[in-house]
């Protein structure tokens, strides 16, 4: 983690310029969904990134194809903080419908760049207003009404470049990269950006402190979204059967995977596919197919979100009891089906862990950044085959669909782990096998794959009504043996799952626990706690369920524990309480459930408030 480095840098920079705010601000662009602002926002973000300044980009969008308001937030942070910044520093108001509300929500001293016609400057006198005639300017470039709207977006990129000192060469290079080989689009957009830049240089006097200066913090880094990272992890994890059903925000995971598989998993000798991707008729079928494939020996997966997870409950139970591998991605969103499907949440924690009926407990991985999205995806396929059970990879909309800076992914350093599979030769040597017998003492049995050519290789798969030899049984002792072994296997899983990341701080009384996308706010939050309030905090990042013994030790060694997550009930906090037994009283919940990504200030304020009420 780069917490310490960032903190040192903050001190250095703070002493340089008391007035100007350099490389530390957020821009929010308010537009209408479907107005083509994706290109311009991406160019804007990449221009700053290419200047060596850490950035992140978050899209707050409605469940709608066109017409409803949407906001894109870009955060530049010299400290490398990539979580959402609570305050908006620069508002680009392009949507007449939300402009008034957007302006009213700003903190004093902030900046509004807006379409001149909207007449926003009368709304407040404590903000810096820069009216720019975007519509008129776009008319100078193109006549077509639709194109004018698109082009207006690139004009604000140029205007912001002038206002913030963003290097126009970087803007132009970002435009070329975004529009790739479409030279006409490249030329048109560069003209638009230049026009916006010139207008500001000639007509606007800068009256705000925000600007950028080149840094060297992004050299060699990538910007990627979590769904792409998971898709890449799946491909490099050797997936060969992908069965899915479209659902926001997980669809782009499989769609991206389809593109990569076409490119890199077509057999060069025959031109044929080394994979099968099927868009299923629903999520029940999606998981059913993945299990059929996992049972027959292929690496299989599906990807979904909360409502899909509910539909997968029955099959998840079957897979748990019948011990069938498969990987299930849950890109979490706000539930239910007609909830807020384009808003982020960590609300599926308990439902994933206990998904299905009877005594089930699953393995769930929680990647918190792009590298983990990639590597945990690979790991999930290994774990599924090693443990012979479904493995859930829980991300969320914020991780999955937003833009994150990362180091390029390392190539996996271990070969695929295909688990305990017996060949016909092995069966011959052993003189048979019992599908559900714990031979090695780790509660993981051996399996054979359909098609194994040996008369003793086959077995009959059914839920839990079987004995060790996979023969039908309803005998009490057989059932008990089966579920007890599964419980023991759950213990074994603890040694295979990604272990927690623990950041000890000498003398810290409080410990903070978080997981998944919430981690993005935690370095900043802990810095705020220390620099503003003198509160030292240790940090424990959960990376998987089942929880391991490290958690108990962490809770034991701190006086108060804050579990920070993005759901209403503190679902992980409750699992932590169960795990730590007598220490459960130390657990406090910090819960952010607004549908937008958590921000450090929210967590800091919540912890400080609880710490203060202790002293009262």
């Amino acid at each position: 983690m780069d917490t310490t480095i960032s903190e040192q840098k903050k001190d250095e920079v703070d002493q340089q310029q008391p007035r100007a705010v350099v490389n530390d601000f957020s821009i929010q662009v308010a537009t209408v969904n479907g107005s083509g602002s994706q290109s311009s926002n991406n160019v804007l973000m990449r221009s700053i990134f290419q200047m060596g300044i850490p950035v992140s980009g978050k899209n707050l969008f409605p469940s709608n194809i066109a017409g409803l308001p949407t906001w894109f937030t870009i955060r530049a942070s010299k400290y490398g903080y990539v979580g959402r910044k609570k305050e908006i520093d620069i508002l680009v108001a392009m949507n007449p419908e939300t402009a008034r509300e957007d302006v009213e929500s700003l903190e004093p001293g902030r900046v509004v760049v807006y379409e001149q016609k909207l007449n926003l400057s009368a709304l407040r006198n404590d903000l810096v207003f820069y009216p720019i005639p975007f519509a008129e300017l776009s008319g100078q470039i193109v006549q077509d009404i639709r194109l004018r709207k698109l082009i207006a977006n690139m004009i604000y990129v140029g205007s912001l470049a002038a206002l913030l000192d963003i290097d126009m060469a970087q803007v132009e290079s970002a435009i070329s990269k975004w529009f790739k080989n479409k030279q006409k689009a490249v030329d048109l957009n560069i003209r638009a950006a230049r026009l916006g830049e010139e207008y500001v240089r000639e007509n606007v006097t800068k009256r705000d402190p925000f600007r950028v200066e080149p840094m060297n913090q992004t050299v060699g880094k990538i910007i990627i979204d979590g769904n792409s990272a998971c898709a890449l992890g799946s491909m490099f994890g050797g997936v060969s059967v992908v069965t899915w059903y479209p659902i926001t925000p997980s669809s782009s995971l499989c769609e991206t995977l389809i593109e990569y598989m076409k490119r890199y998993r077509t057999d060069p000798e025959t031109g044929k596919a080394t994979y099968a991707i099927v868009q299923a008729e629903d999520e029940l079928a999606a998981l059913g197919m993945a299990l059929g494939a996992g049972w027959a020996g292929a690496r299989s997966m599906t990807a979904t979100s909360g409502p899909g997870i509910s539909l997968m409950a029955e099959f998840s139970g079957l897979a748990y009891f019948a011990e069938i591998p498969a990987v299930i991605f849950d890109v979490q969103r706000v539930g239910p089906s007609t909830g807020l499907p384009t808003r982020t949440s960590q609300g599926d924690i308990t439902s994933l862990f206990y998904l299905s009926h009877g005594d089930t407990k699953h393995v769930v991985l929680f990647p918190a950044n792009m590298a983990e999205c990639f590597h945990f995806s690979i790991k999930a396929f290994d774990l599924a085959e090693r443990l012979q059970q479904p493995i859930f990879v829980a991300t969320d909309l914020d991780l999955g669909m937003n833009n994150w800076m990362a180091d390029p992914f390392d190539y996996p350093d271990k070969p695929l782990d295909r688990g305990k599979v017996l060949s016909a030769e092995a069966i011959e040597k052993l003189g048979g096998f019992a599908r559900y017998k714990d031979v090695d003492g780790d509660a993981i049995p051996y399996r054979t794959l359909p098609g194994t050519e040996h008369p003793l290789a086959a077995y009959f798969t059914r839920g839990s009504g079987h004995n060790e030899a996979a023969k039908y049984s309803e005998r009490p002792e057989d059932y008990e043996r089966t579920v007890n072994r599964l419980l023991k296997k759950h213990e074994t899983a603890k040694t295979y799952v990604p272990q927690p990341m623990i950041y000890h701080v000498d003398g810290a009384e409080i410990g903070i626990i978080a997981y998944g996308s919430t981690d993005a706010a935690m370095a900043e939050c802990r810095h705020q706690l220390f620099s503003e309030y003198g509160i030292e905090s240790a940090y424990f990042r959960i990376r998987a369920l089942p929880l391991t013994h490290h958690l108990r030790e962490f809770v034991e060694t701190h006086k108060r524990i804050y579990v920070v997550e993005q759901n209403r009930d503190g679902q992980m906090a409750d699992l932590v309480k169960l795990e730590v037994g007598a220490d459960a009283g130390k657990i406090r919940k910090v819960l952010h459930y607004k549908g937008i990504p958590i921000d450090a200030r929210f967590v800091t304020d919540a912890i400080v408030e609880m710490e203060r009420s202790d002293r009262r």
Partner: protein, 348 residues
């Protein structure tokens, strides 16, 4: 098993296996259950076709019919999954290993009620497998409730009358693009075994709707799913001969138009001797019309309703490599480091 040299090759199939090698565990269904009669013909068909049991995947959902895969081919793999979802697990299994000979056994509740959606989509995809519905019009395991194939007006033992029309799975299957659709009767072993062999030869989904009486809950003489009614009313659309690809085919000249000879893609032949109806199962519209009329008239027609041996199955549509995906080596599954580097550069 009989990997030893056979003493009496007469009782062994072309793989040197005996009929006993195709048997399963003893049935736990009710004595006289139609499903057990179907099981016997499955055993016979696989034995006579010389399909190695280790290549067979037996898939099922939930219900009496779904238990039956345990009663045949005990050295084949079986997967008894969840109610109505056999099509999904079967699809996954054949995607993973296209060399498997997949047979799914389902019931009228499992397929026409809870599993109707999956059934339809399996047919649309033309998943290579044999799909049998052991159709008795009732839920047996839950003790006698009506299923969607129960006939309008049929009566439960308790006196409850079914007031909804029956679904015809064969018309549905043809409508959805299935290219091997047959109806048969558990009490008609000769026809059933020929249809099963044809199904084994077929590339793509082969669907068999087999009237298979439930002796406990729906075998009243008036029931159209009873032995008595079916025996009395069954009418053959044709007499069926199946000549497997590994046996010589006689070239007999039949009177013009009296025989339909269908050559399957594996080289087997289905020879259909027409009855006075003159039905030709290679004509889809004729088949749908026939089923419609039969329903109106209350006829019980059995035989091959529609066949098109030259359809493209799902494996061909996906253009999969010949080798099963399940056995692809790591070098085919994980792209090389250069690929990752190339992709990473695109994100820089």
């Amino acid at each position: 098993m009989s990997s030893t040299v056979p003493a009496k090759p007469k009782n062994l199939n072309r793989l040197g296996l005996a009929m006993a090698d195709y048997k399963g565990a003893p049935s736990t269904l009710c004595s006289g259950c139609g499903h057990d009669a179907v099981t016997s013909q499955i055993i016979k068909a696989f034995y006579e076709m010389g399909v190695h049991p280790s290549r067979v995947a037996k898939m099922s959902g939930i219900g009496c019919s779904s238990k039956s895969p345990a009663y045949f081919l005990s050295t084949a793999y079986g997967f008894n999954g969840v109610h109505g979802r056999m099509p999904a697990t079967a699809t996954g299994a054949v995607l993973a290993n296209r060399e498997l000979v997949c047979i799914g056994v389902s019931g009228d509740g499992d397929t026409a009620a809870i599993g109707l959606g999956q059934f339809c989509h399996l047919l649309r995809r033309n998943i290579p497998m044999i799909y049998i519905v052991e159709n008795n019009g009732v839920y047996g395991l839950t003790k006698g409730q009506f299923s969607p194939t129960a006939d309008l007006g049929s009566q439960q033992k308790s006196g409850i009358v079914n007031d909804l029309p029956a679904m015809d799975l064969c018309s549905l299957a043809i409508e959805l693009g299935c290219n091997y659709v047959a109806r048969s009767f558990a009490g008609d072993p000769k026809q059933l075994v020929a249809l099963l062999k044809g199904a084994i030869s077929h590339k793509g989904t082969a669907f068999l709707d087999v009237i298979s009486p439930c002796v406990t809950f729906n075998n009243q003489d008036a029931s159209r799913k009873s032995y008595k009614w079916a025996r009395e009313h069954e009418e053959w659309l044709h007499q069926i001969d199946f000549i497997p690809h590994f046996e010589p085919i006689e070239t007999v000249d039949y009177a013009d138009g009296q025989v339909v000879d269908v050559e399957m893609r594996d080289g087997s032949h289905i020879r259909l001797h027409k009855t006075e109806r003159g039905f030709d199962p290679t004509n889809k519209e004729a088949a749908l019309r026939l089923l419609h009329e039969a329903r109106e008239r209350g006829e019980f027609l059995t035989g091959l309703l529609y066949v098109n041996p030259n359809s493209r199955d799902f494996m061909e549509l996906l253009d999969l490599v010949d080798e099963p995906l399940a056995s692809l080596p790591e070098e085919k599954l994980r792209p090389k480091p250069e690929v990752l580097e190339e992709i990473m550069r695109e994100f820089m």
